[in-house]
């Protein structure tokens, strides 16, 4: 391991970024799904910074009560405070906590990296919200500025008509976007818009397509008819309607999940789609509402699934840090050329020796998204 570390240091030479640490993660038996996602999150700079800040300001509290977030914060702090620049760390406490908390991840079975990412982010949100609520009740009468409130116009109306202010945590500030689901009744032309929030976008994929095209399809207009009519409040009846999904507020960090694991009814099981889906290093969203039309995103991490099936295989990640691309494979960390990212697009033939496929993409906004 030490030799591998020094190899990376040698490769970077005096270009080794100041204060940065590149550490591989030990694998505790099929925990690569976890390792690959943790690396991507560590190199998601706003997430890392917020978590480390949280860690420093809540150190005493964290000692008292362990949860998944304190374990993650502890791991990140452990990495960033290493004396050596490269090496291997065992994320033991985090993995133990994860297994203790969720039986899904308890087995030694192959797990889905996207499911894990989703679980982790929601868990962190829950913890932050609980803490925020606790602080809120403490300072009920005082005009506390924290937690932040969603600015006007972005209120999510509750079903019962009561406007409950949702708590906006720093995880929301980083990852959350708002989708608007526009339905236009074809009889009275009334447009009904319903907003929903997201922390990542799951996209259907097609052979030999691009992320741009997958996003376009995600927002393409769908006609609701026959069995699938829409109840129009104005017409007070079921009507044919056109529906489309647009991005009302793009997130600061855009996480795109490619639906590579598809349930095939005839087979009665999931199948991996090895389709070639190209993802550019820079991206703009075509399906946004003005004034967010031309916001540019830059790719900084890719979680890659290696293998031909859904129930086995391996996860690795590609990470861009200080304009260098790095390849994380459990304890191994290597430098790669930017052009090597192309080798993870997928395969244009169904049976191919290339089984390394981009699965979760992390893009960071280069412009204002707020």
């Amino acid at each position: 391991m030490g030799a591998a570390g020094s190899k990376l240091e040698k490769a970077l030479g005096d270009q080794f970024p100041e204060g940065e640490r590149y550490f591989g993660f030990e694998n505790f038996g099929n925990t690569c799904y976890c390792n690959s996602v943790l690396q991507a999150l560590y190199f998601c700079v706003p997430f890392r910074e917020q978590l480390l800040e949280y860690y420093t300001s809540n150190k005493s509290v964290a000692d008292a009560e362990e949860n998944l977030m304190t374990c993650l914060a502890d791991l990140f702090s452990q990495i960033s405070s290493q004396k050596k620049k490269t090496g291997v760390i065992a994320p033991k406490r985090f993995v133990q906590r994860l297994k203790k908390q969720n039986e899904l991840f308890r087995s030694y079975m192959h797990q889905d990296a996207h499911e894990f990412l989703n679980y982790l982010l929601n868990e962190v949100v829950d913890i932050l919200e609980k803490e925020a609520k606790a602080t809120k009740t403490e300072h009920e009468t005082s005009s506390s500025s924290s937690p932040e409130k969603i600015p006007n116009g972005l209120k999510v109306p509750q079903a019962n008509g009561v406007h409950k202010e949702p708590i906006v945590t720093w995880v929301h500030n980083i990852f959350q976007g708002i989708l608007t689901n526009e339905t236009r009744c074809l009889r009275c032309e009334t447009v009904t818009a319903r907003d929903e929030t997201f922390l990542d976008l799951s996209l259907d994929i097609e052979q030999n397509s691009s992320i741009t095209s997958c996003l376009k399809n995600f927002s393409s207009t769908e006609t609701l008819h026959a069995e699938d009519k829409f109840f129009c409040d104005k017409c007070c009846s079921l009507q044919e309607a056109q529906k489309r999904m647009k991005i009302k507020k793009p997130p600061h960090i855009l996480v795109i999940h490619l639906k590579r694991f598809k349930y095939i009814e005839q087979l009665g099981r999931y199948k991996k789609l090895s389709y070639r889906v190209v993802f550019p290093l820079e991206l703009k969203l075509s399906n946004t509402v003005e004034p967010y039309a031309d916001i540019e995103y830059s790719l900084f991490a890719v979680v890659v699934h290696v293998g031909s099936g859904p129930n086995h295989g391996h996860y690795v990640s590609l990470v861009k840090s200080h304009n260098h691309w790095l390849f994380f494979d459990d304890e191994n960390v290597e430098m790669i050329e930017e052009s090597a990212v192309q080798t993870f697009f997928g395969s244009s033939q169904e049976y191919s020796s290339n089984t390394d496929h981009g699965y979760i993409l992390f893009y960071e906004s280069l412009g204002p998204t707020k």
């Binding site: 052979q207 030999n208 703009k284 244009s348």
Partner: protein, 548 residues
């Protein structure tokens, strides 16, 4: 929405086609355009035995090479009187008179070099006089004229006879040291060295194509070798081109953003040295330290790879596109940046000039085909229709508008694009329709009353500046007249010849699609009132959408 994105969906291909391809299930062997049917005529590929370990790491590029008669070269003007190569379009009058246009029907007259039968030539009209017809059928040693396709796959260069039904190449050249990446051909090369080859290692060769064809070995014969073992630049050659009218000068673009100018009549044995690049973010041109060495000059163009270069027909301008997403247009003689601009997002992968030098097409990772105007020094249209990156673009210089009146007032361009979505798209561009409505009267238009966004259309772009990425709503959109899935693999190349459209996929399979026959075009012109009615399901009306 996607009709056949999944390779396993089998659309019934026309059973009558003799060229049905067992290797490409679900791919139709023809596609319809307003002017008629384009049919799959020939396919070319490398010998299937070649499945080298490096296969897949190279992307196939194609070069069209027309060899002239060896002795006493005849001028090509004698062969096609009705058409001027530099005009970009021909008048309808000329076509109706049939001058030199019979060739457009089906002019494949068996192989050059006497290899193949004449069985496919039944439709050749008596007046057929295209320059690539084989007049010396008995000549087996490639002495006569002929039209060839040169393409690279893995560690080899393959040469196919365009007009032969033979699927296999007539020649393969294997490189032991590195993989060939790009190539270019000059039919007017004076000393016989007409083919340029750039390698992954940065090495560059010039050879005589005829000499390669006549040799039976699988080695490169009689090459001149430049940038040996990457001594000047060891980054991958990405694009290579002769300088039109440049008296043997050629340029080579590399993956590190540098471009080198070579003079062919100079010895490559003396290594060139160049001063260090002062500022990698800035464009700079440096001469070699010693006047005797080759290359003679280095152009540092950008950070990251130069992906493609193209000279305007007259050799005055050089266009480059690259990883940084910028199209740059240089005055080659003065070594100055004329203009340029950024893609919507992502790298640009390909570029191509119109025959008249007025427009440049680019394609890239934003799935768009951009039309750049030299007069306006900005993007004047975006072609939307690909579902993946655009890897090849070209104007169809042999096409003329069916309703053009020959006066030149109604200028219309036809161009094509191929993408990693395996599709070939054809587009029509009517410039008077697209540019004029966008010019706003001073004081603002009803659509854009305020804001700086619309500056894209108002500002006069000064010389020598690069434009930022335009805003989406400022650029008029084009829709393709047809979209056809031509291969099962992502595409990498597109060419128009007088008789056909040539498409290439990354893995080294080529398809040659013949243009609609003359009779078909004429019968079709009756139904031209509604050209879209006969199109494929994936087609769109050839309308320009103005920004809303």
């Amino acid at each position: 929405m996607m009709n056949n994105s999944n390779g396993m969906i089998s659309a019934p291909s026309s059973s009558s086609s003799p060229a049905a391809n067992p290797q490409s299930p679900g791919i139709k062997t023809y596609f319809k355009t307003p002017e008629g049917k384009y049919k799959l005529h020939y396919e070319k590929t490398h010998s299937s035995g070649l499945l080298h370990y490096a296969h897949g790491k190279t992307v196939t590029q194609v070069t069209l090479a027309q060899l002239k008669e060896r002795a006493a070269p005849t001028t090509p003007t004698a062969t096609s009187s009705g058409y001027s190569a530099s005009s970009g379009f021909r008048s309808a009058t000329a076509r109706l008179l049939g001058t030199g246009n019979g060739s457009r029907a089906l002019s494949f007259g068996g192989g050059n070099g006497g290899s193949k039968s004449m069985s496919t030539s039944s439709r050749i009209s008596g007046s057929f006089t295209a320059s690539n017809s084989s007049t010396s059928m008995t000549n087996t040693n490639f002495d006569g004229k002929g039209t060839y396709l040169v393409f690279n796959v893995s560690d080899a260069i393959f040469i196919c006879d365009l007009n032969s039904q033979d699927k296999d190449p007539v020649k393969s050249i294997h490189f032991s040291n590195s993989n060939p990446m790009c190539h270019a051909f000059d039919p007017d090369a004076k000393d016989g060295h007409d083919l340029l080859i750039g390698l992954n290692s940065g090495d560059v060769y010039t050879v005589s194509l005829r000499q390669q064809l006549q040799d039976v070995s699988k080695k490169l014969v009689g090459p001149l070798h430049y940038n040996k073992d990457g001594s000047v630049n060891n980054n991958r050659c990405t694009s290579i081109s002769w300088v039109p009218g440049g008296d043997g000068a050629f340029v080579v673009a590399h993956a590190d953003g540098n471009l080198y100018v070579y003079e062919k009549n100079k010895d490559g044995a003396t290594d060139s040295t160049f001063p260090a690049i002062r500022d990698p973010t800035q464009f700079s041109v440096d001469k070699a330290k010693y006047s005797k060495s080759n290359p003679v000059a280095r152009w540092h163009i950008c950070q990251g790879s130069i992906n493609s270069i193209a000279f305007s027909n007259d050799g005055a301008h050089l266009a480059t596109v690259g990883r940084d997403g910028y199209l740059r247009i240089f005055d080659f003689a003065t070594q100055k940046l004329v203009c340029g601009g950024k893609s919507y997002y992502g790298a640009l992968l390909c570029c191509s000039w119109s025959m008249d030098g007025k427009y440049i097409l680019t394609g890239g990772e934003d799935d768009l085909v951009q039309v750049w105007s030299m007069e306006d020094r900005k993007v004047v249209a975006w072609g939307e229709g690909h579902n993946s990156w655009v890897s090849g673009v070209a104007f169809d210089s042999y096409w003329s508008s069916p309703n053009s009146d020959g006066s030149g007032e109604h200028v219309m361009y036809r161009f094509g694009s191929v993408g990693q979505d395996t599709q070939l798209l054809l587009w029509d561009l009517e410039m008077d329709e697209i540019v004029v409505p966008l010019r706003r009267a001073p004081g603002g238009s009803p659509t854009y009353s305020t804001g700086s966004q619309s500056a894209h259309w108002d500002n006069v772009i000064p010389m020598g500046t690069l434009q930022p990425a335009p805003c989406k709503r400022d650029v008029p959109k084009l829709s393709p007249i047809i979209a056809h899935r031509v291969h099962t693999e992502p595409l990498s190349g597109l060419m128009f010849t007088q008789e056909s459209v040539v498409t290439a996929c990354r893995e080294g399979h080529l398809k040659i699609w013949t243009r609609p026959s003359e009779s078909e075009i004429q019968s079709n012109s009756c139904s031209e009132a509604n050209p879209t009615s006969s199109l494929l399901s994936t087609s769109f009306p050839p309308k320009i959408t103005k920004p809303h």
